[in-house]
């Protein structure tokens, strides 16, 4: 029974923790502009993140060591540094965007300017990362993030033409006035949002934090193969509410407030209460995950003591990196950069960094020195190789499409 609850809790937190500011922005924006014609990208992204999260979780459970720890050892310091630089830059950008997202969620609840909230949010995130236990952090925000299911309820309440939605999703086509370049630019953004590099670093480092062993592989796989796809369904529900409400009126979604309007229209103030809780939990939880991921990556690369499973003073350099990252994130946001714009760039640059993140995981997961009998099988390798090709294409195409379309204008 205890194991059942552990699995159920893991799945629920995986669902609630799946959506972050990148998923919110990308799915809302794409739903409003392209209807459901990019839903296939979310599905491709979900399968991809499942493949690599399972690999990185398996590596953590079997070897007892996190991804970056092994990448540097297995591929050498130079390749490790390249991997670290690319992933770190994107994760720091994502961390900054998440802090901005929390401030925007608080603005919606209070109508107080988000730039007044940003320093408060930065301090709160750092305090949580310093003081709160890992399991509490993961479970509390993961479960609260389930409030975003309100998007699915709102979709049902809006009473859409389900067959038209299915038609739009199953037979993707270009909406009038949109070019192929813009369509594929947003496809890459959506893919980058679903496969953000920090998710695998956090997942594997979290496995070490929680002391996973080979006995926990079943629980880990349940989290990945049930929790992540259900989280992906949540992403599709967000896109669908935007598609139903905004697409027919030619409204483009640029803010969190606009994204949540269909929930208010469908469910009233109670829906808005759940929505705000979901926005806050999703962005705050992801801010904690990305903040920790920055610390994990650097500390694991340099071989420092890391993690929340030891007293903060025993992992002083790890916590210093987290603190400095928070200061940088808050500083960038206080230049009055738009957090939503930052999010859009972070998910596109995520796509650029994907091969550097996922190739080393595939290598390490195949190394029997670390993995023994739990090294990748034929299915994992086939899917991993296919996805490396896909992320390679996305990475190469992302910047040219960004320039060509003026960032999707």
């Amino acid at each position: 029974m205890k194991k059942f609850f552990a699995i159920a809790l893991g799945i629920l937190t995986a669902i609630g923790g799946f959506v972050d500011i990148g998923d919110l922005v990308a799915n809302g924006l794409v739903g409003a502009r392209f209807g459901m014609s990019l839903a296939w990208v979310v599905l491709v992204g979900i399968v991809g993140i499942c493949v690599f999260a399972e690999m990185s979780g398996r590596v953590a459970a079997v070897s007892g060591r996190a991804t970056f720890d092994l990448i540097r050892e297995r591929l050498g310091p130079r390749v490790g540094l390249l991997n670290l630089a690319a992933s770190m830059a994107v994760t720091l950008l994502t961390y900054t965007a998440e802090i901005g997202g929390v401030a925007l969620a608080l603005e919606l609840a209070t109508s107080v300017n988000p730039y007044l909230w940003i320093p408060v949010v930065g301090a709160a995130v750092w305090l949580v990362l310093w003081r709160v236990r890992f399991s509490v952090l993961e479970n509390a925000f993961g479960l609260a993030g389930l409030a975003l299911i309100v998007f699915a309820v709102a979709l049902w309440q809006l009473g859409p033409d389900w067959s038209a939605l299915w038609e739009s999703a199953s037979r993707p086509s270009l909406p009038d006035g949109e070019s192929r370049a813009v369509y594929f630019y947003y496809a890459i953004a959506l893919f980058g949002a679903a496969m953000t590099p920090y998710e695998v670093f956090f997942f594997s480092s979290g496995g070490v934090e929680e002391g996973w062993t080979a006995k926990d592989l079943g629980t880990m796989r349940a989290n990945v193969f049930i929790g992540f796809p259900l989280g992906g369904l949540l992403s599709l529900a967000i896109a669908a509410t935007a598609a139903v409400t905004f697409f027919p009126q030619s409204i483009e979604v640029d803010t969190l407030g606009q994204l949540g309007l269909p929930v208010g229209l469908a469910l009233g103030k109670l829906g808005i209460a759940f929505l705000l809780l979901g926005f806050f939990a999703a962005t705050f939880g992801a801010a904690c995950e990305t903040g920790l991921s920055v610390g994990y990556s650097i500390a694991q690369y340099f071989g420092w003591q890391w993690g929340k499973f030891v007293e903060p003073l025993r992992a002083a350099r790890f916590h210093t990196v987290v603190l400095l990252s928070t200061i940088v994130g808050v500083g960038v946001l206080l230049t009055t950069v738009d957090p939503i714009m930052l999010t859009e760039y972070s998910i596109v640059f995520s796509a650029v960094a994907l091969p550097l993140t996922y190739f080393p995981i595939l290598v390490v997961a195949n190394d029997r020195t670390y993995m023994g009998d739990h090294a990748n099988g034929r299915l994992a390798n086939t899917l991993g190789t296919i996805y490396l090709f896909i992320v390679g294409v996305a990475a190469v195409a992302a910047i040219p499409l960004m320039v060509l379309t003026r960032a999707g204008q």
């Binding site: 483009e252 803010t255 407030g257 738009d338 204008q409």
Partner: protein
């Protein structure tokens, strides 16, 4: 105050790097872009006003959405206004577009005030007017090549 996504470009334009549109087609393209952005802004504000009138969203939520819409429209109008028309033949287009953008901007300012005053009657009227001006802007955009 949140800077809109194309604020850096607008700043460059407003800082003096203003050039006439290359030709009539480019100028009309600018006009269509400005009108389409403004249509989206006006319609989302109308949705928020409707939701507030029917007590579906909180005051803070409505205030945030309407204020964001107003803040988004200002740079749209400014960045269109500073581009010199390539010839006299598009002066009427410039006037029409600027009039529509100005009307939408005035309505959004009134909407912000109505929301903060919790003036339900005014919010309902303004939602209708915003939808009307959005339709006008959409029709104007459709007349352009």
């Amino acid at each position: 105050m949140r800077a809109p996504r194309w604020a850096p470009a607008a700043c460059v334009v407003l800082a003096g790097c203003v050039a006439p549109a290359v030709d009539t087609g480019a100028y009309q393209h600018n006009a269509v872009g400005a009108l389409e952005s403004a249509v989206s802004t006006a319609r989302v504000a109308a949705l928020a006003l409707d939701a507030r009138v029917h007590d579906r969203i909180t005051l803070a939520y409505a205030d945030t959405v309407v204020t964001e819409s107003e803040e988004a429209l200002d740079p749209i109008a400014a960045s269109f206004a500073v581009v010199d028309p390539p010839g006299r033949d598009v002066d009427p287009l410039r006037g029409t577009v600027l009039d529509l953008l100005s009307e939408a901007g005035d309505l959004l300012a009134d909407a912000r005030i109505a929301v903060r005053r919790e003036d339900v009657g005014a919010m309902g009227d303004l939602a209708d007017q915003l939808r009307d001006v959005a339709d006008d802007m959409e029709q104007q955009a459709e007349t352009l090549p």
